[in-house]
């Protein structure tokens, strides 16, 4: 708990320095500080100096802060007083509360993609002290950019071993820093407006992350999934520009590290970065008078600023691509997927087929369900995407009606650019479903998750306009509207949310599968050698248990069990064929051990005779770890360690 606290302090110290030295608005500094530190560490990591790099970066961050304080020794009190704006105070308070809570409840990861990539990458980066491009493992998705795993790493870079909740904490600090940036319109005298904005930002992820409320806990704020943090950083990038007072370097340069971080988050981060750039550029065109960027004035200055942002995004994207090319020898732009297309080819073919045709059967089917999903699929507490868009439009209308002249201009510009962004985002996802995803595309898998990645920041951007108006326009009405919206969201929140199915409920028993597997691996861990290649058998598995094992035994290769297909005329013949098939597979992968997680009737009938201890004695609540003995065309299994696992 001490190390994350120390890192948080370093982030704040650097934020303070940014405020003093670069004159960035105080509430924007936590976000800029955190993403700048992470960006630098990522670059170190790409040169395989992750641990040293983090130490150097932390040292530098603190050193800059000390320098800034020394330089302003005389008026440091006023500076500190000026720094403690409502956004900063809310940020610090919520981080400390969250840290205390997470240290007490110690939640663990338990969702699918946490084990396929987002969680296990954090674990591997921490255990190896290197980026995951530098070593091999059972993890999928080595080419995904590393911002979030590195962020998690920074918060525990000098601890022994990986702690899952520290990873959650790192994400939360990032999101809270984003929320603080959203309140940047306000100084201390308008603390109540800042509270409205901050509360609304805090509740918004719950407002959208609803699809699993039926049974399982929806772990907002305790998840390794990237979607919501990425959405917040996207809105944060726009906020850093939008709330900067003057139209000069100050409203452009702080945006760069945020865009860099966003592009480093995930492949989709590139698309969001481009949309953010578009929104910012439009705002510059409309709202910035007397704009000067690096001594270039007016329109050309704005274009130059946009160009610099574009270069940052492109540099980040191609920099990571170059890194992959040199270290892994893979081509990043090749999305592959079901049709094996590159991303540019996908966009060209897709747009052509969408506008002109001819469309394949898959295209027509998905296009149809994708467009009806907009008004049918429930993605939020108020229902479909159409309702969400209406709500967002209503916020923009409020901002427009109550705004002063400048506020109206900015709201209209923001509305226009975000609608264009949304259309692009929506069509891009249609093409992803058609060309990249396989059969799962037909039922629009993860539709809500992909969509709220845009709805959350879009709602926040509408809120920026309203927040600006509550400061400069018809204050009473705009402020009243914000208060009303927070109250309405809270009413919905109370209706939908049970105490146990959000992050506060983890002290209960939501983590059944995870804890079951943790108990089993702990039982056999001392019998597992470093070089073991393990074939996992788990009778009821849909892939989740395999993923969880790859997480628990992350130093070993875990080979998933695929269904055996051989069938003979008689049962005896089938048995021989299946055993042959198993033998071939095992030799292919070089399997040395078998892990029996959950036996099945089929396994008992066909393979049990090969084991010296029956799997029915080591199945279900027990665990069995067998050594594979290779004979001529045959296999035998010798129990190394096994037994019943008690979970109390």
């Amino acid at each position: 708990m001490i190390i994350p606290l120390f890192v948080l302090a370093a982030v704040l110290a650097f934020a303070f320095a940014l405020y003093i030295l670069a004159d960035i608005r105080p509430s924007l500094t936590p976000l800029v500080s955190l993403v700048t530190i992470t960006d630098i560490v990522i670059v170190f990591g790409m040169f395989d100096m992750l641990k040293t790099g983090t130490t150097i970066t932390m040292f530098l961050a603190v050193a800059v802060a000390v320098y800034a304080v020394c330089k302003n020794r005389e008026n440091i009190k006023e500076k500190l007083y000026g720094f403690l704006q409502p956004g900063v105070i809310l940020f610090v308070a919520s981080c400390l509360l969250m840290l205390a809570y997470l240290a007490y409840a110690q939640p663990v990861m338990h969702e699918w993609d946490e084990f396929s990539f987002w969680g296990i990458s954090q674990l591997l980066v921490k255990n190896h002290d290197r980026l995951y491009t530098y070593f091999t493992s059972s993890m999928l998705g080595q080419s995904i950019p590393p911002a979030l795993p590195v962020l998690s790493y920074i918060f525990q870079w000098c601890t022994t071993g990986f702690t899952e909740w520290v990873g959650f904490f790192a994400y939360d600090v990032l999101m809270f820093a984003g929320f603080a940036a959203f309140t940047a319109a306000y100084e201390r005298k308008s603390a109540n407006s800042a509270i409205f904005v901050y509360l609304l930002a805090f509740l918004t992820p719950f407002f959208f992350a609803i699809s699993d409320f039926l049974t399982y806990m929806k772990p907002v704020y305790i998840t390794a999934y990237s979607d919501i943090p990425m959405a917040i950083v996207f809105a944060g990038a726009v906020a850093v520009h939008f709330f900067s007072e003057k139209g000069n370097e100050n409203s452009v340069l702080p945006v760069l590290p945020v865009l860099m971080f966003l592009t480093f988050t995930k492949d989709m981060g590139l698309a969001l970065s481009c949309i953010a750039l578009f929104v910012i550029f439009f705002d510059m065109l409309v709202a910035r008078e007397n704009f000067v960027f690096l001594k270039i004035k007016g329109f050309f200055g704005k274009c130059f600023a946009a160009f610099v942002m574009l270069m940052t995004i492109g540099g980040t994207y191609f920099g990571w691509g170059y890194h992959l090319g040199t270290v892994l020898a893979v081509n990043r732009t090749d999305y592959g997927g079901s049709s094996g297309m590159g991303i540019v080819q996908m966009l060209l073919t897709g747009v052509k087929e969408l506008l002109i045709g001819p469309k394949s059967e898959k295209f027509l089917f998905i296009q149809d369900s994708f467009f009806t999903a907009f008004s049918n699929a429930k993605v939020s507490m108020i229902g479909s995407g159409r309702n969400v868009v209406l709500l967002i439009l209503a916020l923009f209308v409020l901002a427009f009606v109550f705004g002063n002249k400048k506020g109206r201009k900015r709201s209209a510009a923001m509305l226009f650019s975000t609608i264009v962004g949304f259309v692009g985002y929506y069509i891009f996802h249609l093409l992803l479903y058609v060309y990249i995803l396989g059969d799962e595309a037909y039922n629009l898998v993860s539709y809500d998750r992909y969509m709220y990645t845009y709805y959350i920041p879009w709602l926040m951007m509408a809120l920026f306009c309203l927040a600006m108006v509550a400061r400069d326009g018809a204050k009473f009405w705009a402020k009243g509207a914000m208060a009303g919206i927070v109250c309405c969201v809270l009413v919905l929140f109370n209706f939908y949310v049970l105490p146990e199915n959000i992050f506060t409920g983890v002290a209960g028993n939501s983590f059944g599968v995870r804890r079951d597997i943790a108990a089993k691996t702990d039982h056999i861990r001392d019998a597992v050698g470093e070089e073991d290649v393990i074939w996992l058998y788990s009778g009821q598995d849909d892939g989740m248990r395999w993923f969880t094992y790859t997480f628990e035994l992350s130093d070993n290769y875990i080979i998933p069990n695929r269904d055996f297909v051989s069938a003979g005329e008689t049962e005896e013949e089938t048995k021989q064929l299946l055993r042959k098939e198993m033998y071939d597979r095992f030799t292919d992968y070089g399997v040395t051990h078998m892990l029996m997680d959950w036996t099945s009737h089929e396994f008992c009938v066909y393979f049990d005779e090969l084991c010296d201890v029956s799997t029915s004695e080591t199945g279900n609540a027990a665990v069995g770890y067998y050594k594979v003995i290779y004979g001529d065309d045959s296999l035998r299994f010798e129990l190394v360690k096994g037994g019943t696992v008690n979970f109390d």
Binding site: L97, Y101, Y104, A105, K189, S190, A191, N192, S193, I195, F196, Y198, L199, F202, L203, F213, L214, T215, Y216, M217, A470, K475, F476, K479, G480, A483, V486, C487, L490, F495, Y496, L498, P499, E500, N501, I502, T504, G505, A507, G508, N509, S510, F511, G512, V513, R515, D516, A519, Q540, W598, N620, A621, V645, F647, D648
Partner: protein, 204 residues
């Protein structure tokens, strides 16, 4: 008087809000406790024990004196018609149960609703004791999902309906309460400040 109200600093408003919301939560707990006491007195709420066999079972079967789940969504349904405040049972699970959920139905033949649901939690002191708790409500049927894993073995023979609750059960503070305490208090303080601004007619 109005002048004084106008001059209260924001820090005092915050303090007042945090105290007020805490008192509000406590008052609500006391009221719910009172509801349970009065329902017990007028006889509409009674504690009783039900054998597992009394439930309509789905997805589980008896095996060697224990209950084995045969699919991942086992259900135990029973009619309780009356005031209802929760259940408790003592059980020994072979493997982790996962979420144990109790659905309740306030109308006959009603479909299940995610809002009419309780999470059954493990007791902190006695890990074999499971219980859930809600303010007294008229309930027709309940449905208990004792585990989310197929092939789990559960050693239990009865379930207590409406176990007696103490005052402290209703006043227990969970992380959820703390979070909502902060959220409501901040909101209340912000709204009070807004009202204050209405008086002074100067919005910041």
């Amino acid at each position: 008087m109005i002048k004084r109200v106008k001059n209260i600093p924001f820090s005092i408003l915050l303090l007042v809000s945090f105290v007020a919301v805490a008192l509000g939560f406590a008052a609500k707990g006391c009221m719910n406790y009172g509801k349970e006491i009065s329902a017990r007195e007028n006889g509409s709420l009674t504690t009783r024990q039900m054998a597992v066999q009394d439930f309509v079972l789905d997805g589980m079967r008896e095996k060697n004196g224990q209950w084995q789940t045969t699919d991942g969504d086992p259900k135990m349904m029973v009619n309780v018609s009356g005031m209802f405040t929760g259940i408790s049972f003592t059980a020994d699970y072979l493997v982790y149960p996962g979420d144990i959920i109790l659905y309740y139905f306030t109308q006959p033949g009603e479909g299940f609703s995610p809002q009419k649901r309780l999470y059954v939690s493990q007791d902190r002191d006695n890990p074999q004791l499971y219980h859930c708790n809600m303010p007294a409500t008229y309930v027709v049927d309940i449905r208990l999902d004792p585990t989310t894993l197929a092939g789990n073995m559960i050693d239990f023979d009865s379930v207590i309906i409406n176990p007696p609750h103490s005052m402290s059960d209703y006043l227990a503070v969970t992380p959820y309460h703390l979070m909502m305490w902060v959220v409501y208090s901040l909101l209340l303080a912000a709204i009070l400040r807004f009202v204050q601004e209405l008086f002074t007619k100067s919005f910041e």
